[in-house]
Subunit: 334 residues, 4 copies
């Protein structure tokens, strides 16, 4: 951490501040310039509240040098984390295709979709049971019943299942779910993150639509600080001024997250663009950028889906995407 | 709602689509142009899933005409809502000053601040007990103990109190709290909103840092749909590319929310700017723009605050702001 | 165009407004609903100033149905435009690699880079002569001398050249330049666009860092309206709240622009990320998303480049990217 | 400037880098930590290309400590700059009201508006002659003729005039114009800025719709570096995800620009909101936040304005705003 002092600060004031740093166990290095004095701080700077420091009258600005996330940081864990879900691996060179409907609607629907996406190459089945909807008047999911239907589809196809949690009180219902998803709107629902840190389930954490990569990794850190280190990061588009697409897929987040963290990074091309016809180009681009997996919405009958039909692929379209994605990975992994 | 069809759609396809609309109880008005055919729909268009409609092959785009919020909409409730909190009124020409520390830290601290902000003109006392923090390693608040201390400060000063809830499981602890605050990060924690809709407490709902006004009002709608109509909207800055300020106070949101909704609108100048020295100009500008109140962080000793000291005013600075704000309101209310 | 009237508008007011539309040669279709009356307009709605219309007291909102760009619109020109630059084709299945230094620095430098990028597979040589810099104190390019050196490099290697124009007064200097580049900051320098519309040179138009796709295509329209239809669109990253990367590459813009327009779309991965180590993943992702070309900064000695060295590849790194890109295109073009 | 080195850098590498800094005349202060080594640099760091430095393999990151603008920086010019335009003062406690139509349309129109805004309290007359329009098919202004009509209106009313320049080639036409306006889209048209730096006219520089405050001040710096120090900064709304308003007025920019710079700051509430009914609340809020002036669009007949009628006030509405603004200033200036 570096503290820049204002012009005109007295030697006594500098000395007092340095004493204050030293009582907090930090080493202090002073560089006096013509216009500014800079204090470099070495040690465990987490003990310093930087905003408090910035509020002092003699301080012009404070610059943070190290990232505040530890468990998620590649600096301290150079090797890729590989998440093993019932034999399906994600990360460290293992690419996972997650597919299924936005919402679980009925037993036939989820089993039909599960069988078709499996045949097309999917490794994991997704399906929404609890649905976060912007409007209270929209379909909110089959809830508990939806999870039971997912478990049936898992028995039939053998595919591990992933579904979203919206409330830590529902955790018991997720006992047979293989991966728990945290939605973008709950990325900073810290009470929920803490509860998930106490479980031993893999967590797929979606990036909030306006959260930067540091905040994203800090939310992973919340879960990891509780002892659960099996986190899959999911980029699903951010909010920008551009309105032709629902969100703007931040494709650069894939290599940047790989640089900052050892956790696997999956991309959701369905919510990023919000249109079925964008899913193929965005899937290929995510694979080419080095993503460790894709989470794609597939519906047996998109025009009658109860939610988000506009962005769902048919199983046939999904097959086409899956085939091309495999070829892209062959190119990039060599 | 207006549905625009693609160039080259056949009469039969148009007829089929119109039949489908009619079975949903809608009136249909067709305008055929050279390049495009437009179908106007009259009736309860909430029954139509617009994203599904957009996904149909013959549809180019769908334009929504009416806002999806009903209870919060001024169109159906022309008069301002006035919230009465233990005799303190907010909205409809009543301006409320809410002040207090970011975090409750101790009995002396909260009582000292409460007495000082009351003397300076505050109507309601704020204080954080449960604190949402980006980092799991930061101070998370005194929790239950913090609420007890707030209640003591209320007894001493008579000021109604407001504090933030992070988890519906904590609702019992809020029995003696006068206004429950929902933080920006929980604006779309729909399960929490639904639980608050079942209470009879006034709710101060903060706008998410990247949510537009429609989403903001839809979240108010979640609470109102449950039967609790006492909502105070709070603008607290949005996330933009600009980095000199922590957030960008969206001052236009004040008159726009008043136009769209009958609910009172309060501004938080402390979190908007993230710097104590911005609180005064932002407070005056919010009052001048027609806000129904301000929520300002005040600490007896900002440089030793456990959280957000950088943006806290001293009681003396708060008094200066409060006095000027009163004069601004005299100008604007005439 | 659709005009939505306010609740309570009288029949006479509606009639008057419809007369006004009819005098402008438009067909009018009225749909009266319980809460709202909607007027559909068919014909050449370009004659209507929509903001004026919205300002009328009886009008609630105006919805635009068709895009305001005509020459650039795929609706009226279904086939891909192919730009031929001295035998190098861009668009319609032809992929072009544009490479070279941010700034032309000396004869040896530009010829060395030109020869190396050619050997690595580049089709066109880029190099900055006039440099737009945020600070007046930064290196502003070799200007006229830079263009002369580019022309020398062209003679030696046979590669067509592209360089940026900042001022229409310099057009004479561009007589032997093959493609004229308009930088992001000049995307809405309309006087410059108009002058370029009078030339017969291919124009590579970069998207402004905060311009949406409609504005981008409207700027192409400015040039095309003058008679010059040889436009190459270039996505180079947009400005968002995320700060780990210099800009956010809007990868969805590639398929969206292809849908909206017939013009070729090239991606600049160097400015998008602002870091050499992001160029490879972003290049591969752009090729996978269907881009018609890439424009990549390559420098013989990045650590001594006079500008933007941080984002320049060495010729060896460029060769690696070029080889992988070719393989990606083989996958996607099948 | 502070350079942070990567973990594992050798002493020899550090020594070499420090030598390189010293050859550039900089003092070097090294702080070695457990995980990181930090090099503080004192002296004229403008000589260092920070992006180049960041690209070095041993460098993790570079932190800039001082702002790169000098002439515009309050640090080196503590007193407010006051711009005197023909006796009308702006800045340093002097508040200026600039009003007039978006476009000059005819002699009667501009003279009528000029007389009415003068009577209502305006100090300076605005009017567009050269109009930057997103679409090539929209009205582009009366150009030279428009300037002549403005000069006539000045003769009749005595009001100084301001109008926008789009092309340095037109400078001769601006000989009798009192303030030259640079529009938001030209804020980084550096060639234009350089030419304006050679004139002795006050320049009203509008902030680009997606430029941060540093870039804004760097553009002022471009003009000032040429010798013209009479710059008026104009905040006119930035581009965000919010779509209910055309732009988002960044009200915090007013106090922040006053802190960073000594130049006067004016607000344009008409373009910020894009709606006449937002002009009053935004004007009052700008005055309350400490702006040195307002630039407001006023038209004698907004519903027939050739451009931007939707955001124009009538002279009567302007009078009401002007009267309230005066009272707000009385409150804030005490």
């Amino acid at each position: 951490m570096v503290t820049v002092l204002k012009h005109g600060v007295t030697d006594e004031q500098i000395e007092n501040l340095c004493k204050w740093f030293k009582t907090r166990g930090l080493d202090v290095h002073i560089s006096k310039g013509h216009y500014q004095t800079i204090i470099g701080l070495i040690g465990d700077t987490k003990k310093i509240d930087t905003e408090l420091l910035e509020s002092l009258e003699i301080v012009e600005t404070v610059k943070i040098i190290s990232e505040p996330f530890k468990n998620a940081n590649r600096k301290f864990h150079p090797d890729d984390t590989v998440i093993d879900v019932d034999g399906v691996k994600i990360g460290g060179g293992n690419f996972a295709l997650i597919a299924g409907p936005c919402s679980v609607e009925s037993e036939e629907q989820i089993i039909e979709v599960a069988e078709k996406v499996k045949a097309a190459g999917a490794h994991i089945l997704r399906g929404g049971a609890f649905k976060p909807r912007t409007s209270p008047y929209d379909f909110q999911g089959l809830k508990e019943e939806g999870i039971k239907l997912l478990i049936k589809a898992k028995k039939v196809t053998g595919l591990p299942i992933i579904t979203e949690i919206m409330n830590a009180n529902h955790l018991d219902l997720f006992a047979d779910v293989d991966i728990i998803q945290v939605g973008a709107r709950n990325m900073q629902n810290f009470d929920l993150l803490k509860e998930l840190g106490k479980t031993n389930k893999p967590i797929l954490l979606k990036r909030g639509h306006a959260n930067d990569l540091k905040e994203f990794l800090m939310s992973a850190e919340y879960i990891m600080a509780g002892g659960n280190e099996r986190i899959i990061l999911c980029e699903r588009g951010i909010r920008t001024f551009e309105k032709y697409t629902r969100n703007t897929l931040d494709i650069s987040a894939v290599p940047m997250l790989h640089e900052l963290s050892h956790l696997p990074v999956v991309v959701d091309p369905s919510h990023s663009g919000g249109m079925a016809r964008l899913v193929k180009p965005l899937s290929l681009s995510a694979a080419a950028a080095g993503a460790d997996g894709l989470m794609i919405e597939v519906h047996n009958d998109p025009s009658h889906a109860l939610c988000d039909g506009a962005q769902s692929l048919t199983p046939e379209q999904f097959k086409e995407v899956a085939d091309k994605v495999k070829k892209i990975i062959e190119v990039t992994s060599k």
